[in-house]
């Protein structure tokens, strides 16, 4: 297996607050890793450091950043662009792909996430779950080898969660390398190769799902999971 992400002893400080404390994580190609843990434990910050949206204060990150795509917690779709424009914009202006080809590929991606009929709508005119799927298609359009998801379903009404999770499951089947921050425990258990538990800026355990959910080493994790389930 080839290691595609190698984060070594990452530290991140906001003012006086040490948000990440020596966080290390290795991810192999094709692996799906879910990060769980209480809110405020540094999960988003860790993803943002991997994506280089935050400068790290210590440690090393080894990734080819061109291969990295991110789906944000609040999506950040471009409100002034239609669904298809959201998806084709970066391939056209960053990769200099010709417009026709970019649109055609965008339509294929929309088909994949089941939204081809919404291609000319603006983000404000589609539902939360549809927005989430557009955000995934937009990231996929840059042909990333690794996708980072920050709580992809946390903003959704319960009945919309399923449609988004099934898209992510499809990606897992295609062996997309993914790091997913999530509170959907059943989903994490089903889709992940490993579960990482973060607490107070540290990874306190990394284990296969079965172990994490039935017999974690840390009592702290047991308490958290009992509350979640």
């Amino acid at each position: 297996m080839m290691c595609v992400i190698k984060a070594e002893n990452i530290t991140k400080v906001f003012g006086d607050l040490e948000v990440l404390k020596n966080v290390s994580l290795e991810v192999d190609r094709g692996e799906v890793i879910s990060i769980i843990g209480p809110s405020g434990s540094g999960k988003s910050t860790f993803l943002r450091c991997l994506q280089q949206l935050e400068e790290i204060d210590g440690g090393k990150i080894k990734i080819d950043d061109k291969k990295l795509g991110m789906i944000f917690q609040n999506l950040n779709l471009f409100p002034h662009k239609t669904v298809i424009e959201n998806i084709s914009e970066a391939p056209i202006i960053v990769n200099k792909m010709n417009r026709e080809k970019a649109v055609k590929r965008g339509e294929e991606l929309l088909k994949k996430v089941g939204l081809l009929d919404k291609k000319d709508d603006y983000p404000c005119d589609i539902s939360g779950g549809q927005k989430q799927r557009v955000a995934i298609a937009r990231a996929l359009a840059m042909e990333p080898e690794i996708l980072l998801f920050d709580e992809p379903t946390s903003a959704l009404d319960p009945e919309l969660v399923g449609e988004v999770l099934s898209v992510i499951k499809e990606l897992a089947k295609d062996h997309m390398t993914m790091i997913i921050v999530t509170h959907e425990m059943a989903f994490a258990r089903e889709v992940s190769d490993y579960i990482v538990f973060m607490d107070e800026g540290k990874i306190i355990e990394k284990a296969i799902p079965n172990k994490m959910f039935t017999n974690p080493d840390h009592p702290r994790i047991k308490v958290f999971l009992d509350k979640m389930l």
């Binding site: 949206l53 991110m70 944000f72 471009f78 970066a90 960053v94």
Partner: protein
């Protein structure tokens, strides 16, 4: 009746000067405002400081004083400008400052997440500003920009003070000659028509940008 047509024709000739000045001022002050706003939202401290001083001076002093300074004052330093040049430069610099502030606020009102999404998709600063941030900022600054554009139309009347034959000056000439207020009423109507066109143009733009959110 023929008297009214006659003086209307005369005052309309003045409106050519007004419109020429207006066009030049708009065409240059808006880009100046965009560049200024990009400077003010950049992370270059020295550039921000220079712009800060520029805006402080321009906003804190009368436009008429600035016009007098450029037309009557600069010759003292050996810079002699024609009336139109002096007026155009003054209006561009003056309105550039106001537009800088308006556009800066517009750029800053765009959510930080938009920059991050653009960055995560591999866009550089220029691509992000051009394709993602500025188009969203434009929508938000249309109402205040429209206000400024209307005010500029009326402010052009200040050039009468350096003896330029604009609408106001033409009207005043007729009044001095014939001693009745009709020319002022005609001038008022012309200004109203011109500002109404500006309002209409911006209404159309706002409609165009209303398709999202």
């Amino acid at each position: 009746m023929s008297y009214i047509l006659n003086i209307t024709g005369f005052i309309l000739k003045g409106s050519i000067v007004t419109l020429k000045l207006y066009a030049v001022a708009i065409v240059f002050s808006i880009p100046l405002g965009i560049v200024g706003a990009l400077g003010k939202t950049s992370n270059k401290k020295w550039l921000k400081n220079i712009l800060e001083i520029y805006i402080w001076i321009i906003r804190g002093t009368p436009l008429l004083l600035q016009l007098f300074f450029v037309y009557f004052g600069l010759p003292v330093f050996g810079i002699k400008l024609g009336r139109f040049q002096a007026a155009a430069i003054t209006f561009i610099i003056n309105y550039g400052a106001y537009f800088t502030e308006i556009f800066r606020a517009g750029i800053e009102s765009v959510d930080k997440g938009q920059y991050e999404a653009a960055k995560a998709l591999g866009m550089n600063y220029k691509q992000t500003m051009r394709r993602i941030i500025l188009p969203q900022a434009i929508k938000r600054v249309l109402p205040p920009t429209s206000n400024e554009a209307i005010t500029l139309m009326k402010d052009t009347a200040l050039v009468a003070a350096i003896s330029m034959g604009d609408i106001l000056r033409a009207a005043k000439e007729v009044l001095t000659r014939d001693f009745n207020v009709t020319p002022f009423i005609i001038a008022a109507i012309i200004y109203l028509l011109l500002t109404s066109v500006v309002v209409l143009v911006f209404k159309q733009l706002e409609k165009k940008y209303a398709i999202y959110e």
